[in-house]
C-alpha cells in the first residue's frame, strides 16, 4: 500500500491508500474521488482520466506512445505535467504522490 493525494477540481485534498500495481485512475474511481471519469475503464482509449502530476514526476516512467497519442484528446488544458491516470501504476517509490484533477474531463 502507498498513499496518493488527489486534489479534486473544487480544491479539496483527498488521501487514498492504494495497492501496488493499481493505477492512479483505479485509486480515484474506487474511492469516489471527484473529477475522474475514466469512461474506457483503463484501456487508454478515452482521455477522461486526465490528471496533472504535481510531485514525484521525475520518478514516473515516460508516457508510452499510446498515452502520448491519447493525451492529444484531453478536454482541459494540456500542460507539461499532464498524464493519463490509468497509465500510471502505483508502487512504493510513488508513495506520497500528489495529483491534481482538472475542472473538466469531457
Amino acid at each position: 500500500m502507498s498513499k496518493v493525494t488527489f486534489i479534486e477540481p473544487a480544491g479539496n485534498a483527498v488521501d487514498v491508500d492504494v495497492a501496488d500495481g493499481w493505477s492512479l485512475m483505479q485509486a480515484a474511481t474506487s474511492n469516489g474521488v471527484d473529477g475522474m471519469e475514466a469512461e474506457c475503464s483503463g484501456s487508454c482509449a478515452c482521455a477522461t482520466c486526465h490528471c496533472y502530476v504535481e510531485s514525484h514526476e521525475e520518478l514516473l516512467p515516460a508516457p508510452a506512445e499510446n498515452e502520448l497519442a491519447m493525451l492529444d484528446n484531453v478536454a482541459a488544458e494540456r500542460r507539461s505535467n499532464s498524464r493519463l491516470a490509468c497509465q500510471i501504476k502505483m508502487s512504493d517509490a510513488l508513495d506520497g504522490i500528489v495529483v491534481r484533477l482538472p475542472a473538466t474531463q469531457v
Binding site: 495497492a19 483505479q26 475522474m36 469512461e39 474506457c40 484501456s43 478515452c46
Partner: protein, 387 residues
C-alpha cells in the same frame, strides 16, 4: 458441499446467490465443472486485470472458447501485439468519432419503435433490440445490408454453449464458421472495392510495415461482429428487464431522459450481460491461502465483483442515482471493452425513442428463458405488455 458450475441452468438464471457464497467463503475457488479458478471479489479482479503479464488472454478470454481464436483477436492476445491491433481499430470507436452516427442511430431506433408502437404485447428482443443492434452495427462497421437477420442469429448462437457437454455444440461451431465465411466475404469485397469504413481500413492495415496476417484480419472482424451484436443486444435486454422490474426508475427516465445515462451505468453494475471472462496464469499465484499454478485458467467474475459489498454499498439494490464509477461491466485494463462508447450512445438513443412511444410496460413471463452461456447472461425472449 458448495459447487459453482457456470454451465448449469441455475447459474444462467441467477448467479448472484452463488457469487455471494464465493466472495464470502471461497474467494479463490477451484470449480471442477469449469476446470478453472474463480475470482469473485472486486479487488482481486481489478488486481488481475492490471496484470496481463500474469493473467494472460492469449489462450482465449471466453469461458468456453471458440476454435482458433486464441492469439488472433483483440480479446485473445496480449500486449504488445494486442496494443498494436487495438490501435488500428480504436480510432473509429472513440466517442468524438462516433458523433456522426448519432442521427443514423436515431433514425434506426425510430423505425424499429414504429414497428411495435401499436402492439399490446411484443418480444423486446425479437421485435425491437435485435433489429436495432444489428442495423446499428452494420452502420458502424460499414457492412452491406441484406443479411442482417441471419448475421444476428448466428452472432447470438456462437456465444452459447451446450449445458450437457460443457462445450460448444455443433450448432455453435457451425454458427461461428458461418460468421467467418461471412466476414471473409466482406473483407474480400472491401479489398477489391475499398470504402471509407472500418473494415476497409482494417483489412488493408499494416503493423510496423508487417501486414496483419490473414487470420488476424479474419478473426478480429468476426469477433467485432459477434461482440458488437451479441453484447449490445444482450445488454439492452437486461436494461429493458430492469426497466420492467423497477417501474419507479422507469417512470423517472421516461419523464427525464437525461437520467438514462446513469441508469445504464447502474445496470452495467447491477446485472451486466457480460458476466464472466477467463485468463490463463503465466506463473504460480498464491491468493487467500490457495496456490493457483502456472497454466491454470482463472475466471474473472465481473458480475460478482459488481455486487461486492466490500466495494459497493447495498450492492443488491438497484439505484439509478448511485453513479457506480469503477464498475466492471466493461471489464478493465488493457482489455476493457472497445465498444463501450458506441454502446453507451446507442443504448441512450434507443431508449429515448423507446420511452417516447412506450413509457409504460410490464413483463409477461415470471420465469425467463435464459441463454445457455458460461460467459454471457441475458434472456432469449423478453415479452413485454402495455397497460
Amino acid at each position: 458441499m458448495f459447487s459453482f458450475d457456470p454451465y448449469s441452468p441455475a447459474v444462467d438464471a441467477d448467479p448472484f446467490p452463488f457469487y455471494k457464497t464465493l466472495r464470502d467463503e471461497h474467494p479463490c475457488f477451484w470449480s471442477p465443472e469449469a476446470e478453472m479458478w474463480v475470482l469473485s471479489r472486486y479487488t482481486d479482479i481489478v488486481t488481475a486485470l492490471n496484470d496481463w503479464q500474469t493473467y494472460s488472454s492469449a489462450s482465449g478470454n471466453l469461458m468456453t472458447e471458440l476454435p482458433n481464436r486464441a492469439g488472433s483477436t483483440l480479446g485473445t492476445s496480449d500486449p504488445p501485439r494486442h496494443d498494436r491491433l487495438r490501435a488500428l481499430v480504436q480510432h473509429a470507436f472513440l466517442r468524438r468519432n462516433l458523433e456522426a452516427l448519432a442521427e443514423p442511430m436515431r433514425a434506426i431506433a425510430r423505425e424499429a419503435v414504429a414497428e411495435i408502437k401499436d402492439a399490446k404485447e411484443f418480444d423486446f428482443i425479437g421485435d425491437f433490440s435485435s433489429k436495432f443492434t444489428v442495423r446499428v452495427l452494420f452502420a458502424a462497421l460499414g457492412l452491406p445490408l441484406g443479411d442482417e437477420q441471419t448475421v444476428r442469429d448466428k452472432a447470438v448462437l456462437m456465444v452459447q454453449s451446450d449445458p450437457k457437454t460443457r462445450a460448444k455444440g455443433p450448432e455453435h461451431i457451425d454458427a461461428y464458421n458461418w460468421m467467418r465465411e461471412y466476414a471473409a466475404g466482406v473483407i474480400a469485397e472491401r479489398r477489391k472495392n475499398p470504402q471509407n469504413d472500418l473494415i476497409s481500413h482494417f483489412s488493408m492495415a499494416e503493423i510496423d510495415g508487417d501486414k496483419l496476417d490473414e487470420m488476424e484480419v479474419l478473426l478480429t472482424t468476426t469477433t467485432l461482429i459477434m461482440a458488437g451484436i451479441e453484447s449490445l443486444g444482450g445488454f439492452m435486454s437486461m436494461f429493458a428487464l430492469n426497466m420492467a422490474d423497477f417501474p419507479e426508475a422507469r417512470r423517472q427516465l421516461a419523464a427525464n431522459p437525461e437520467l438514462i445515462a446513469d441508469a445504464v451505468e447502474e445496470s452495467l453494475r447491477f446485472n451486466t450481460s457480460a458476466q464472466r471472462f477467463r485468463r490463463r496464469l503465466q506463473k504460480d499465484v498464491t491468493l487467500h491461502g490457495q496456490t493457483m499454478k502456472a497454466g491454470d485458467f482463472v475466471c474473472l467474475a465481473y458480475g460478482s465483483g459488481n455486487r461486492d459489498e466490500r466495494q459497493f454499498a447495498n450492492p443488491d439494490v438497484y439505484d439509478i442515482t448511485r453513479k457506480p464509477k469503477g464498475h466492471l461491466g466493461f471489464g478493465g485494463g488493457v482489455h476493457a471493452c472497445l465498444g463501450s462508447a458506441i454502446a453507451r450512445i446507442a443504448i441512450k438513443i434507443a431508449f429515448e425513442e423507446f420511452f417516447k412511444a412506450i413509457p409504460e410496460f410490464r413483463r409477461v413471463e415470471a420465469d425467463l428463458p435464459w441463454m445457455p452461456s458460461s460467459t454471457f447472461r441475458s434472456p432469449l425472449r423478453l415479452v413485454l405488455a402495455r397497460p
